[in-house]
């Protein structure tokens, strides 16, 4: 059930992101790109598997990841206290930081577009004659 809900949420997020990227207002475009990158981050987290406890070292000295437990053939791996895959969470942290930098730059670029063109309406940017 969780998988279906998460899949629908991801689809909705990408749809919203695509809709916003196709707007005329540059700020909405930046919003759309930000939502799309965050949707990709949510997708990355789901790729780690949807069962298991939080991967915090120290809660359980002998935790195994649910993927390893599943490969070893244990049944009821969620009840066995397996830990969800921490690798994808590290990937998402990296992606969030990269997204933070690029979103900041995109916003400053938006302001610069406004300063140079006097408008943030994409139809109003027009062709530039050299």
């Amino acid at each position: 059930m969780t998988q279906v809900v998460l899949a629908l949420v991801l689809g909705a997020l990408f749809a919203i992101g695509t809709y916003l990227v196709l707007r005329r207002d540059v700020v909405r475009v930046v919003w759309g790109v930000a939502i799309m990158s965050q949707a990709a981050n949510v997708y990355l987290v789901t790729m780690g598997g949807l069962v298991g406890r939080a991967p915090v070292l120290g809660h359980d000295a002998e935790a195994t990841t649910c993927a390893a437990a599943g490969a070893a053939g244990e049944a009821g791996s969620a009840a066995a206290g397996c830990v969800t895959d921490p690798l994808v969470q590290a990937l998402v942290l990296t992606a969030i930081v990269i997204g933070f930098g690029t979103t900041a730059f995109a916003l400053v670029l938006t302001y610069r577009v406004y300063e140079e063109h006097g408008t943030i309406d994409l139809d109003g940017l027009g062709e530039v004659v050299r």
Partner: protein, 524 residues
């Protein structure tokens, strides 16, 4: 054979990183920045030369970051293919940095221009050296982030508009790349490229199902095609190349585009080709086989053919030198990727095809960098790059014109320039693969190349000289002459280049050697 403890593999990564930081530290003085930057790029070229020498003599070098063993840690792999691409990057980077010192105004240079250029080099070097899928994403982002700022560097109306398009398209591309990498991790259970190749070759032993790899690799291919500027992902190329400062355009066209091509060769020919899965597109008989490459043969052919034709036709119609060079880049990338399509479809010619791609990559990288720098010199001399403002430059700036001619003839493929070798190998690979349609497209592309180079030469360099000052900077021309000499030397003394490209293409296709270098015996 992998050599453990090989720090020299990291040297090309550390040198531009240290240079970028040092440039920022001495940010109070333009002269110090220039000194550090020039010394840094020379150090980078030296590090690449040393690494190239070590790998050519001793085999693949593997470096495990922080000592974490493969496949858990991040692996940096310096094999013949990586060092070949690094050699191209170093050549173009040295020329671009030296040219920037003269071409970009000192106030602009002082505003972290050199640091950004070196950060972009770090991203490019990391992309060429990494052996980990997500690490590839990170280095792509480093390279892109620096290039975003460099494209919009002059911050005028045209630059902001071009940068907006460039940034939005690449941010969407990054999100798509994350999707593909996440999916590939879920399917194969690992991010290390060598480990992915090993698991795909023997899926039963690792308990994975390789069927989704085709679709996910196609998603990843779209991102690499965006970086390389293949049709239909080419829309950001002409505005960005027009807007960027000429040395930045030279590095973008000469090196950053090639990162996309390198990623296609590395990931599709070395890693994903390990999978054996039935490929079948209903209704399209050309796509059928038992390897992922059976899908990519026709797909890459369509993209390459479209790029060659669209790039060539649009280049003929351009009114200014930079637009012509930008559309020409789109067409030339089609030429670079066309042999890969034939190599993917016909396994017997695969090595010849990758060899052709690599030799043409060097040709385009160096010649296009030379042409972009020449257009920058023309802009500094005349004040405009529109053909309506140029004319008769061959009389008034002869050395500059010769440099442009060398670059243009190299694109056309006239011996004894390196472009002749590129075209020769491409046509050879196509002929060996019996790809008549591809040969026809390549011929049309070659004719279009002749058309736009001739048009540029006639409009800009022959004809009645137009009124106005032509003030050519001697230092800029000196750099252009050096780069033109490189183009000639690579063509005349082609043996080392072809030998290096041959070793690189063998390394690209020798999956067993790559996997055993990283996993079977690779240490810290």
């Amino acid at each position: 054979m992998a050599v453990a403890g090989s720090q020299v593999a990291v040297a090309p990564l550390l040198v531009p990183l240290a240079t970028a930081v040092a440039v920022l530290v001495v940010g109070f003085s333009w002269r110090l920045q220039v000194g550090v930057s020039v010394a840094g790029v020379r150090g980078y070229a030296l590090a690449v030369a040393v690494l190239f020498d070590r790998v050519a003599g001793g085999g693949t070098l593997v470096y495990q970051v922080s000592g974490w063993p493969a496949p858990f840690g991040i692996t940096l792999v310096a094999d013949a293919l990586s060092t070949f691409m690094l050699g191209l990057a170093a050549t173009v980077a040295v020329a671009a940095v030296l040219f920037s010192v003269r071409a970009v105004d000192p106030f602009g240079q002082g505003l972290s221009y050199h640091a950004l250029l070196h950060f972009m080099l770090v991203g490019v070097t990391g992309s060429f050296l990494t052996g980990d899928l997500f690490n590839l994403f990170v280095w792509f982002e480093v390279m892109l982030m620096a290039s975003y700022v460099l494209v919009v560097f002059y911050s005028g109306p045209e630059q902001t508009r071009a940068a907006l398009q460039y940034v939005v398209l690449n941010l969407i591309g990054s999100a798509v790349m994350l999707l593909a990498i996440g999916g590939l991790y879920a399917v194969t259970g690992t991010l290390n490229m060598a480990d992915v190749a090993r698991r795909l070759a023997d899926p039963g032993a690792f308990g994975i199902d390789p069927a989704p790899v085709l679709g996910l690799s196609a998603l990843l291919f779209a991102v690499f095609a965006l970086k390389a500027g293949l049709v239909p992902f080419h829309f950001w190329v002409p505005p960005a190349y027009r807007a960027a400062p000429p040395p930045v355009a030279a590095v973008l066209a000469g090196v950053v585009k090639k990162v996309g091509v390198y990623a296609i060769v590395r990931l599709y020919f070395t890693v994903f080709a390990a999978a054996t899965l039935p490929v079948d597109l209903p209704g399209v008989s050309a796509v059928a086989g038992d390897s992922v490459l059976a899908f990519y043969g026709p797909v890459v052919f369509v993209l390459a053919a479209a790029s060659i034709l669209l790039g060539g036709v649009a280049a003929v119609a351009q009114d200014d030198v930079e637009g012509l060079l930008a559309y020409s880049s789109i067409g030339q990338v089609g030429f670079i990727v066309l042999p890969l399509a034939i190599g993917a479809a016909v396994p017997a010619v695969r090595q010849v095809a990758v060899l052709a791609t690599l030799v043409y990559t060097v040709n385009h990288g160096v010649a296009k960098a030379l042409l972009f720098l020449t257009s920058g010199a023309i802009f500094d001399a005349v004040g405009s790059v529109r053909f309506s403002d140029l004319g008769g430059l061959a009389e008034r700036a002869p050395v500059l014109s010769v440099c442009f001619l060398v670059g243009g003839l190299s694109l056309v493929g006239v011996p004894p320039l390196v472009g002749f070798l590129g075209k020769l190998y491409v046509f050879d690979a196509l002929a060996r693969g019996r790809a008549t349609l591809a040969l026809a497209v390549a011929l049309i592309g070659a004719v279009l190349t002749i058309a736009y180079v001739t048009r540029a030469w006639n409009r800009g360099f022959w004809g009645p000289p137009l009124a106005g000052e032509v003030d050519v900077s001697r230092e800029e021309v000196a750099i252009l002459v050096a780069l033109a000499v490189v183009v000639v030397v690579l063509g005349v003394g082609a043996e080392p280049l072809v030998r290096a490209a041959d070793a690189a293409s063998a390394a690209a296709l020798d999956r067993g050697a790559y996997v055993s270098a990283v996993l079977g015996g690779g240490g810290t």
